[in-house]
Symmetry: C2
Subunit: 324 residues, 2 copies
């Protein structure tokens, strides 16, 4: 895209510089980091056909590309500052770029952050976003901070649950059908995830560990367990579920909720003595939180139902599913 | 690449954390930025077939992917700190990844920087690197800082010149042939560019503006002229040229040197009173510098030969070439 590359950047992606010392248009962007703060950085790449369907509306793609990155900042308890966008496009499609930019900047505005640099090139459709946030030194929420005895919590939309994104994907795959309005609801969960940025910051000093659920709850919990050298008990029946998911067969509910992925909710641990503080933080952030288990000293993951009865067969199948 | 994604990261890309507060393996990396310093950030995406040929050795690709990003830091006068890598791969090819990592980390070691985070996914081959550097607040070299009367300089390898990368590309394209050793020399320039990191830092407080030559000298100079609202005279015969390029027809020499791109040399401006200081900085950094023209108040670009005779026809053809 030698032809017009700079025009495209200027037309769709150049905005006035606010927080950054220097924004789009030089060799580098320059960011100021306040004394006593650490810079939190995360990079995610989205590839057509793998992370989004070719049928997705460009504005929703723009939203999601930034949302999944903001979700990483949320999981560290960082306050978002800025982002860069590198974009590979088969051709300079103005309608696509306009839509992409509108979704991207709407979410950026919501979080008060700005695009400070990037790159555009010709090639298969691929978006790579790097986000920058700040967190008081030593206060970031890590995967390695969980302690035995911690409650295990997962956030969810008020009145909703986790697993809807996966349910929508199964509809796209033709495995099941949903009524129009139900489909729109779960499709919204898949295409328009809400990064839990306010909750992440509110959990600083409260949660011992946090991760965002992107690859599936059990898989992401596995990272926390390895990072913290602990085990866990998870109560499958305590998983928050939307009305749409709760109307599905139980096996599908568990598959979507435990192994679905693309939820971008926060999975975190906190001491039982702080339950009210956790609920207050979630309330202030406008999201729900569900207590779904406990961190334990004994290694391994124990999946149980609401009566405490082990669900080993289901767990084995999710584990296989996750790495298939 | 759900299968083995985490294993691949651990196997090829996880190294001990040194400078960063937290490296690969959590939701975010955490970086410390010293008081009084600004963070310089740049992102570049490399796509197979556009930025590198499918025949490139993986180690050379790893080198180049990081080098082009470090070159942006160099052009700002920043000291490199760390980088993230997002990688899309058609399949988990261990030999490819091992080679890629070896080239990447060899250059990273040379500059004392570390990989602090990233992402791997399945998809068409695509590398997106974001680099982080630090520069004393207010001292970054910008495209907008040039002043009328400044000398225009370009760096080059000692004993070499600019334009070799383009000459190599023309060989790959079958437009010309070179003897084996000559081809190896220019191919090396194309595949193994040396980012001018030491020179960039040495030019702080000395140069008024800087940019790295990635899209072709005249095209990149255009960014400086627009950023600084100036014009320039460029002496085409003053361009530094390698012996291999100097043996080519003059028209090809000028095309490669003025419009070639992929040089990753620094194009910078400095006051005539600082010529000796510029030469001393280049000497200390182990690179050559050539004075190739002058920044002027009158807008526009005036390309002349060694006798000061205008080369308008050639310039027009490069301009067309650049945007074609």
């Amino acid at each position: 895209m030698a032809l017009g590359e700079f025009d495209l950047i200027a037309k769709f992606f150049k905005r006035p510089v606010r927080r950054a010392a220097l924004g789009v248009g030089d060799d580098c962007a320059l960011l100021n980091v306040a004394p006593g703060m650490q810079l939190a950085v995360s990079s995610d790449m989205l590839v057509e056909g793998r992370h989004f369907l070719s049928t997705v509306a460009p504005a929703r793609l723009g939203h999601k590309a930034l949302a999944v990155n903001l979700s990483d900042l949320a999981a560290c308890g960082a306050r978002p500052l800025a982002f860069t966008l590198a974009l590979s496009l088969p051709r300079a499609d103005e309608a696509f770029l306009e839509g992409l930019a509108s979704g991207l900047f709407a979410l950026a505005e919501e979080h008060g952050i700005e695009l400070v640099g990037g790159d555009t090139t010709a090639g298969p459709l691929n978006l790579c976003i790097t986000v920058f946030g700040e967190v008081p030194a030593g206060q970031a929420l890590l995967r390695s901070g969980a302690r035995a005895g911690d409650d295990l919590w997962v956030s969810h939309p008020l009145g909703g649950g986790i697993g809807d994104a996966r349910l929508a994907l199964e509809v796209f795959r033709g495995r099941l059908t949903l009524d129009g309005r139900d489909f729109e609801n779960v499709r919204h969960a898949m295409e328009q995830p809400r990064p839990r940025v306010a909750l992440g910051q509110a959990l600083r000093g409260l949660a011992h560990s946090a991760i965002d659920v992107s690859d599936g709850l059990l898989g992401d919990l596995g990272h926390v367990l390895r990072g913290s050298q602990l085990g866990a008990r998870v109560d499958a029946d305590a998983l928050p579920r939307s009305a749409v998911l709760a109307a599905q067969p139980r096996a599908l509910q568990l598959e979507c909720g435990l192994a679905g992925g693309d939820d971008y909710e926060l999975l975190f641990s906190a001491p039982p003595a702080r339950r009210e503080a956790v609920r207050a933080a979630a309330h202030a952030a406008g999201v729900g939180v569900a207590r779904i288990g406990e961190l334990q000293a004994e290694p391994g993951l124990r999946l149980v139902d609401g009566y405490g009865v082990p669900l080993q067969a289901e767990f084995a199948s999710f584990d296989h599913f996750r790495s298939a």
